[in-house]
Symmetry: C2
Subunit: 231 residues, 2 copies
């Protein structure tokens, strides 16, 4: 499989480009608008045909590349069923299968960071990896204090959905700020400091008392992303 | 296989942690001193026993974690045969095989960025990947204007050694500054702008006229690294 993890240094965002092999159809997860020229270069050099661009959720910390990629490649744009973004060409719901030229992704509804966040399980019959957006991070979890985030739903999404994936399923999140690029479900179950050994009540208490400042780009990014990054 | 690519944001350095599986013996390539506590945490959580820490070359842009890892884990410290660092416990030469609990690395002498740079080929019988340090980067090459760097040797190392690896061999470099984490030998042969379609003479001309400023940490890092990061 061709798998490329890409990093936007300004927002700390991970983007994922997947295809069965060079020359095949491809999809991209959580592209960043400012990086679109680089994605286009890479897609072209690898001889890929981009057919889908997926956002795990409406990002508040960067502007999405969905609209620009759609305009430049003709790809479909995909988000989950509860998104308020009216620009996307396809909405997936729980358990929907995205199948593209040998790449299979199963959609899992995982609200908590936002009320419309989805995660995507790669090769769901025998999961290789999960792209968790911002609900589950490496040794962390996504904040739950804006965009209809909800700490109780975050717990449910992580503990009752993501943590039920097989141990060795690799975790590829939407961000990391300490330079770690992947983890596994087994690792996060055991070592995620917000979750391991914690009760649901304790988790809710932690998340509801983080008192984080809003993301710098929030007022720009959210409205822009409701228009696929082209408002 | 357990494979973790880690990123030091300050110096743009990639570090690689490899083992056959959790609980097994492990090795680390190009660790950064400031990140050692994080490596130790990850190694411990994964139940790994760190047995070797390798530097591809004497770094000029960050202080190595070799000495600290040796002190904290008892691992051997490895560099190539021509290093001036007298602190390392093992020096490898061309074609030496490092074999650790199911992980095999073949040493390739690839001078050019420095006169003592080595690359390491993972699973050399059927190469999966090469860790190229700074001689070959993603769509770039390491500067050749200090530490006995030499643009002609850089060409020879890349074109006559690394580019002879199989097409699909993944390239994992020591740095990337644009957020790309891997490439392949086929890609760099075709798309590396300093090499593709260029003659050796043209390459030498490009490299000898880059006029780059010295790395910020050079005066600190090089002497520190000759003492495994503990001067």
């Amino acid at each position: 499989m061709l798998f490329r993890q890409l990093f936007d240094q300004e927002s700390g965002t991970y983007t994922y480009l997947l295809a069965s092999a060079p020359g095949r159809e491809a999809l991209i997860i959580d592209p960043v608008k400012g990086q679109v020229p680089q994605y286009i270069q890479l897609i072209s050099q690898l001889g890929l045909k981009l057919v889908s661009a997926i956002d795990t959720h409406t990002h508040a910390d960067h502007v999405t590349g969905l609209g620009d990629l759609r305009d430049q490649t003709g790809c479909t744009t995909i988000m989950g069923a509860y998104t308020k973004a009216e620009c996307v060409s396809m909405q997936v719901k729980e358990n929907d299968l995205i199948s593209i030229d040998g790449i299979k992704l199963r959609a899992l509804y995982t609200p908590g960071h936002t009320d419309e966040s989805f995660s995507y399980v790669l090769n769901p019959d025998k999961p290789d990896a999960v792209f968790s957006g911002d609900v589950l991070l490496i040794r962390g979890t996504g904040r739950t204090d804006f965009q209809n985030g909800n700490s109780e739903k975050s717990w449910d999404s992580i503990v009752n959905k993501l943590f039920r994936l097989p141990d060795q399923t690799l975790l590829y999140p939407g961000h990391d700020y300490k330079g770690w690029m992947s983890s596994s479900i087994a690792e996060e179950r055991r070592f995620n400091p917000r979750l391991a050994g914690k009760s649901k009540t304790e988790y809710i208490q932690i998340m509801d008392n983080l008192s984080l400042p809003n993301p710098k780009l929030m007022d720009v990014a959210v409205p822009a992303n409701l228009a696929c990054g082209q408002s």
